[in-house]
Symmetry: C2
Subunit: 362 residues, 2 copies
Amino acid sequence: MSNITMTKKVHNYSAGPCILPAEVMQKAAEACIEFNGSGLSLLEMSHRSSAFVDVMEKARALVKELLHVPAGYQVLFLQGGASLGFYLSAMNFMKKDGKGAYVNTGTWAAGAIKEAKKLGKVEVLASSEDKNFSYIPKGYTIPSDADYLHLTTNNTIFGTQFHDIPSCPIPLISDMSSDIFSKTIDVSKFDLIYAGAQKNMGPAGSTVYIVKEDALGKTGRDIPSMLDLPLQISKDSMYNTPPVFPIYVAMLNLEWLKDFGGVPAIQKRNEAKAALLYGEVDRNPLFKGVVATEDRSLMNPTFVLNDEALTARWDKMWKEAGISGIAGHRSVGGYRASMYNALPLESVQVLVNCMKELEKGA
Amino acid sequence: MSNITMTKKVHNYSAGPCILPAEVMQKAAEACIEFNGSGLSLLEMSHRSSAFVDVMEKARALVKELLHVPAGYQVLFLQGGASLGFYLSAMNFMKKDGKGAYVNTGTWAAGAIKEAKKLGKVEVLASSEDKNFSYIPKGYTIPSDADYLHLTTNNTIFGTQFHDIPSCPIPLISDMSSDIFSKTIDVSKFDLIYAGAQKNMGPAGSTVYIVKEDALGKTGRDIPSMLDLPLQISKDSMYNTPPVFPIYVAMLNLEWLKDFGGVPAIQKRNEAKAALLYGEVDRNPLFKGVVATEDRSLMNPTFVLNDEALTARWDKMWKEAGISGIAGHRSVGGYRASMYNALPLESVQVLVNCMKELEKGA
């Protein structure tokens, strides 16, 4: 198969599914034709074949290696996205007649709260809804009688991110869909981490769970098999047919990340990209950020034009520069430049150059 | 991208994920590199992009067209496979304090029964467990006070299939994972059909639901959002990020089926393949079928050697002929030649030739 030849150059700022490295796409394409000289496409291979079992095991091992997952934790590749994770996490951690504690930092945290309420009591410890989720609440007390605390570490829609994880006397669960693998984390602080793949891990269609094994099995609930983490662990993440191709592409992407230098190396680049863009947002009199400076997301910077009259000119300008996907989420408006792992610094420079150009012409 | 050039020719009898048409794999590979001249790989495109929304709508429309889905039904592409469907179907149809009726035809039916029991009462109307699931039970009475009857139309592991759907005075639910799109069905008989994609529909990673809309919303249950069919319908099958690539490949495969002449044309070929293989199983004194003749599956013929001493020679023979995937399921042994839609008649002829050759040499 020939190398990638795109018909045009796009700077892909999509909020997710999002940019993946070109070499990952190339290898993914090759596997659609034939996988490892087997005479079969990966799309038509049994998930019980040794070739795919190796893929699954390698993907699980790469998660452990890249995040320095401690002993006693298991890694699973399941389905359903974080939206199923909202329910699954409560199912596996909220005792019958128990309760879950939540911090409401926006749409996805609210989604997790909604699903947990279907199972039992929920205590919302803090919320930033009063200021349209433009900051991360701090200083709340974590109740010792809750079964767990649930956080959404990065808020894709609003552009906020937890930069400090509170110390937590009860089991800590986190939805890390949009910042997992973007910076180093101390997995030992968490009892459960879950993340839809379609940001920094791979294409849409798989969901990673990193779970402390001895935190499980304590709810007294009869859990549906597909949502039962101990059962999924006992089946090596293959209780049923897994999403073969999305897991393979996630594996390729994690290999790419390892070759890049791992999470510390990508964190350095992510910080450089964020510094470049936020620096321009703060410097350029035509723009302003919309969230508390100390809570700004490294993944999803959000900003607005100070003068909405410039909108048409600005939109034309960035589109002509080959930039795609920076319109803000339909629920908040403005702009959101999602800068996931695979986005090169060069693409951020193109965006910043556009902002400078708009200023010159204004 | 160049055409497919396999390193070797394989006759792919995998029980699922299974053979897909070569042209589907080719188009899938191309989409990994660039989708429709967008400058983006399909793997990095937003599911909210008009390009992908078109894919989703086309896939849903093709299901409707190919199966002649009547008005009043909705088609969804969800996640989790049939194993999540076991629970989801009971969640959406079993009233609080109600009950579900089941026919136990083997492993997958038993799985559906297990999940339904987590929600309420289950009545098993009939079972073929007494003869290791080698036939389809008939002549049972369907209780009018059950909320639904659940059937597994084809039993991949044992090789049996419902050739007549009982007339049913209560809502009828069917797991059609391994025979959907293989033969014409009368959708109007069913209130819910669900099927993991990885047999005749596409690669692993998506699950189709075909549901009669006015049969929903009657259980009084607070259903988890991801399992809530009315909610998924209201969001056009995109309550959250769908498995983009598996759905695209399913769409390609359904287009292939349409070009092939649709379900009646593929049924004709499937019947010819089954006649060829079962004919040889019945004729050749070295082999015998293991299920009731009238209940034989067109998709997963199972058979055994009469003389186990021939096993090593037989296994060497078919492997050398490029045949892959005919070892029986680990729970039953023997042989299973899964003959899904994309398997050409030629591959069946190769298998039959091997059987004849074994006979000559015996």
